[in-house]
């Protein structure tokens, strides 16, 4: 079966050679890939980590299996183990069985395994930026596995490479072959990775978070591509992700992992509509959703995912489980329903509803929205002058209002300028034009002494909880320093008392003051960041992607914290994020940015229920949602093409190159913002058309 002389194997040929298997469902075809009892251990100087524990799964032809879990659950390590790509036998050990078309390849010597890799089983990685060798051309990198496994000649390989590139949706493939990775965008690089994976017609493809590093609109393109390729070529795809919504839209079957074990598996419909394991239930409740009415609070799972160094005994989820009992201290067995759904829980959930449908949030009075804004931004612009000439117009003509005691959500994909807006408002960079009025004075033209006072009133919470804290300072010091420097506390004792107050506010234990940042989890670090901002008694907090780097269950906790603090302390937020569901949950007003300009701005209801700008619509369509399981057959308008370079933005309306309804007029002039209501403005000449 692994004879290299046979070159490309015909799928029909292969299927005939599979012996009939008796499985759970006799009418299902035999699995292409079958993993049983996979265990992986890492050993370091002073620790032994059993990171993957008895994991089993299988993939059939033409099927997408999703492996879902949060960070530290072992899903990526499992995939590397399945490919036998773990290295260093001194520190890594793995056991188990992995059968490709019935034959256990774990038992093969390394040289035979090498012949399998890239040919019968291929892998796509998370970071397209670094997964390609920067020094070799694209053509070379696609041809490499072909030369190795299929023994094609150079011209045959080139012809096949062009076919593959066309198949993955890359235009002008001949030219791309001679280009280098740095000349392509992230989306294109990932397409190249897919082409490489397909080069030798593999039976199984493993994709480890293939779209996590990409923008939402590109993500949709890539996943749609993968899905169609799977159906067309009848391969099996293992999709590893942390995003349940992606699972809903694209996967056929799903296995949920927690603390190195598979806690639930079944078809997507089974698991997402009738989850049995309490973790799955909690996860589904914690994800903010666009397809159901907004909940007042997200239901979060208390605590945090366990570190692989000390997984709890028995059911690893029991410390966080609302219905845990004595029995949960021992290992639950995998039980199965009659329809094939498996779960490992002593107290499974038998009925579950989308919680929001049971208790929708009361519609808040909109007066918060039309009160005088605490921050009024008009015409904000920032240009960057590059060393070798040329100007990048990072943001232009930004008009925003942050409602008093409310939240303005700023959303957009990478490169849209939202971080630049934050940095200019915070005076970390000088704005090129515009005004920002806070309590009557323009903060952009403040003098040094005014700026110092302003800095107390306007604070910031950053995205990366790790790099936003000085790694050499203890938490107590980090929190106390601004209090003492600004004289908010008279002496160290007063500062310590205030620090304890702040920690209580954000829900952290008081003894955390002695710890260093690297000794805390991401969620805890982010809470410290929030506490630090609160210490100054600000009125406005600019939140720059504060939950993007957090796991779903932690994200829900932090979002609830933000909402509680806003009510308790009367804060206003400028909330920047790229996740639309998160933005919808917390914002009163939402602004959508693209390539440095505001495309649309309106209240939450206006923007999400009645979007008028084609970009907003495309964005909403591209975002997968948990409810997509039911709407799988619906086509959605996918934005084509890639993001233009900010050095060379399109003339006229910056979105027209990718807009499904663009006309000639869109190229000639920048569309003015058309006001559809007192709060709803759209920068599109077609805004008023139905």
């Amino acid at each position: 079966m692994y004879n290299e002389r046979s070159g490309m194997m015909d799928m029909g040929e292969v299927m005939e050679q599979i012996p009939a298997k008796t499985g759970a469902s006799d009418d299902a075809p035999a699995p292409l890939l079958s993993v049983r009892n996979l265990n992986v251990q890492f050993r370091a100087n002073d620790s032994l980590v059993h990171i993957v524990r008895d994991v089993s799964f299988e993939v059939r032809a033409g099927e997408i299996l999703a492996l879902v879990g949060e960070s530290g659950c072992g899903k990526s390590v499992s995939s590397l183990a399945v490919m036998r790509l773990l290295s260093d036998p001194k520190t890594t050990r793995f056991t188990g069985e992995a059968r490709l078309l019935g034959k256990d390849y774990f038992a093969l010597p390394e040289e035979d395994m090498r012949r399998l890799r890239g040919r019968d089983i291929a892998m796509i990685f998370q970071e397209p930026m670094t997964s390609l060798n920067p020094l070799l051309t694209i053509g070379r990198q696609i041809a490499e596995p072909m030369f190795e496994h299929l023994r094609l000649t150079a011209s045959q390989a080139q012809a096949r490479a062009i076919d593959l590139l066309t198949k993955v949706g890359i235009t002008d493939p001949e030219r791309r072959l001679t280009q280098y990775p740095h000349e392509l965008s992230g989306g294109m690089r990932q397409r190249v990775m897919i082409a490489i994976a397909l080069a030798c017609n593999p039976k199984v493809i493993i994709a480890d978070e293939p779209t996590t590093a990409l923008d939402v609109t590109i993500q949709a393109q890539i996943l749609d591509l993968l899905q169609s390729l799977v159906r067309e070529m009848n391969v099996g795809l293992v999709l590893i992700t942390h995003n349940l919504a992606l699972v809903a839209r694209y996967a056929d079957r799903v296995s949920v992992m927690y603390a190195g074990k598979i806690v639930e598996s079944g078809t997507t419909r089974q698991v997402l509509e009738t989850p049995h394991h309490r973790y799955t239930e909690g996860l589904l409740a914690a994800v903010p959703r666009l397809d159901v009415p907004r909940q007042a609070r997200l239901q979060s799972i208390p605590g945090q995912p366990p570190s692989p160094r000390n997984f709890p005994q028995g059911c690893a989820f029991h410390p966080r489980c609302p219905v845990a009992s004595e029995a949960c201290h021992s290992q639950p067995e995998l039980s199965a329903t009659d329809k094939g759904q498996r779960y490992a829980c002593f107290h499974p959930a038998m009925t579950w509803q989308v919680a929001a449908l049971a208790s929708p949030a009361p519609v808040p009075a909109d007066d918060r929205v039309v009160r005088s804004p605490v921050l009024q931004v008009r015409g904000l612009a920032k240009d960057f002058h590059l060393k070798r000439g040329g100007t990048v117009r990072a943001i232009q003509g930004i008009d925003l209002d942050v409602p008093e005691g409310g939240t303005l959500g700023l959303v957009g994909e990478s490169g849209c300028g939202k971080t630049t807006v934050a940095r200019t408002l915070l005076h970390l960079q000088a704005a090129s034009a515009g005004t920002a009025t806070f309590r009557g004075s323009n903060i952009l033209s403040a003098s040094k002494s005014e700026l110092l006072k302003l800095r107390q009133k306007i604070q910031v919470v950053y995205q990366d909880p790790f790099t936003s804290l000085n790694p050499r300072h203890r938490i107590g010091q980090t929190l106390a320093e601004p209090l003492l420097v600004h004289g908010l506390c008279a002496d160290k004792r007063a500062a310590r008392a205030r620090v304890e107050e702040l920690l209580d506010l954000v829900g952290l234990p008081r003894d955390i003051t002695e710890r260093y940042p690297h000794q805390m989890s991401g969620g805890q670090r982010q809470r410290v960041g929030i506490a630090r901002a609160l210490g100054m008694k600000p009125e406005l907090i600019i939140c720059d992607e504060p939950v993007s780097a957090l796991d779903v269950s932690i994200q829900a906790q932090i979002m609830n914290l933000f909402a509680d603090l806003r009510t308790k302390l009367g804060l206003s937020y400028l909330f920047i994020a790229h996740d639309l569901a998160v933005v919808r949950h917390i914002s009163d007003i939402v602004a959508v940015m693209y390539l440095g300009r505001v495309m649309e701005i309106g209240t939450r209801a206006e923007l999400f229920e009645r979007p008028r700008h084609p970009y907003t619509r495309a964005l909403l369509a591209a975002v997968p949602s948990l409810g997509d399981e039911n709407r799988k057959s619906q086509a959605h308008a996918v934005v084509k093409g890639d993001l233009p370079s900010p050095l060379n933005p399109p003339a006229g309306c910056v979105f027209h190159t990718r807009c499904p309804i663009a006309t000639g007029a869109c190229r000639s002039a920048i569309p003015p913002a058309i006001a559809l209501s007192q709060t709803h403005r759209v920068a599109c000449i077609k805004a008023e058309c139905p």
Partner: protein
């Protein structure tokens, strides 16, 4: 490409000017007087009038800025002045001795690179193994042993074991390369050992870093052979920081050469420099520093070109 070269050369000029100015002022502003030293060497203590007269003769009593101006104009015409000691033009003295220094330098570099790249790669690939330790110890030796002392020792060893000493004289590269090689091989090894030790460590750590990079993981996932992964993916990427290091450490190479020429009695610039320093012959010192800086800039330019040849992300011009 031409534009890039032109730009680099234009950028080099301020650096060169800066070096020249710095040296000029360092030598002339700081205490220490060459004329007095010279006259003392001839015997006796010169009277104040004699010193003054001598200074006037050499033009050293003019205002500093005038001397500086002269110096600069001289630079443009490649006239580095005349040695106060011998009276001969500096540029002549330097050009006479430059070839042999360059020959040793090039030979050292060849030795160093030929040794460092394979050893560094092997050490990185087999990190933690006994061969890695052996190579690391070899590299440590190169860094710890002073190169001039190492030169002495290997010369002594050659003498005792094979009764062989490097030939004297000045064989030319064109007419008698083999004899030249014999003369230069020991100093080249002495200096090259240290140079290669630094490059081995750099190459080794680059290889170790590269092995953890995502693109190597992709190459493995493609099922490529080990040889191909190493040659096509690991080594080229590891060479990049190593090439940069070659340029940066070239200054170290020249420094070692200056001392080694003394050990092996080679008639190169290094030896001339030492003589000039011991007799405070400022014109010669200035001239040599400028020439060395020119060589350094040229080498860095070559290194950058080599880097750009391998790395397509670098745009020239």
């Amino acid at each position: 490409m031409i534009r890039y070269l032109r730009n680099r050369l234009l950028l080099a000029i301020p650096t060169l000017l800066g070096v020249a100015t710095l040296i000029f002022f360092m030598l002339n502003v700081l205490p220490g007087d060459t004329v007095e030293t010279m006259l003392r060497a001839e015997g006796g203590s010169p009277s104040v009038e004699l010193v003054a007269a001598e200074r006037a003769r050499l033009g050293l009593d003019r205002p500093l800025l005038v001397q500086y101006g002269d110096f600069l104009t001289g630079l443009v015409t490649l006239d580095l002045g005349h040695s106060h000691w011998t009276g001969k033009p500096v540029i002549e003295e330097v050009m006479l001795r430059l070839p042999i220094t360059l020959e040793v330098a090039v030979l050292s570099m060849i030795v160093a690179i030929a040794v460092a790249v394979p050893l560094g790669t092997i050490a990185g690939l087999y990190q933690g193994s006994s061969i890695d330790y052996a190579i690391r110890i070899f590299a440590i030796g190169g860094i710890a042993l002073p190169s001039f002392w190492f030169g002495m020792i290997i010369a002594l060893v050659m003498l005792w074991s094979f009764n062989w000493l490097p030939p004297l004289g000045s064989p030319s590269l064109m007419k008698d390369p083999f004899r030249l090689l014999q003369q230069l091989i020991l100093p080249a090894i002495a200096v090259g050992y240290r140079y290669s030790a630094i490059l081995i460590r750099m190459m080794r750590s680059s290889v170790i870093d590269a092995l953890h990079e995502d693109y190597v993981r992709t190459a493995r996932a493609k099922g490529l052979r080990v040889a191909r992964i190493v040659w096509r993916h690991v080594v080229p990427n590891s060479l990049l920081p190593t090439i940069t290091m070659i340029g940066l450490e070239f200054a170290l190479l020249i420094g070692s050469l200056v001392v080694i020429e003394q050990v092996f009695s080679l008639n190169g610039i290094g030896r001339l420099f030492i003589e000039a320093v011991s007799r405070s012959d400022f014109m010669v010192i200035q001239g040599i520093v400028i020439v060395l800086t020119v060589i350094f800039i040229a080498v860095n330019l070559l290194v950058d070109l080599a880097y750009a040849a391998i790395d397509p992300r670098i745009e020239l011009g």
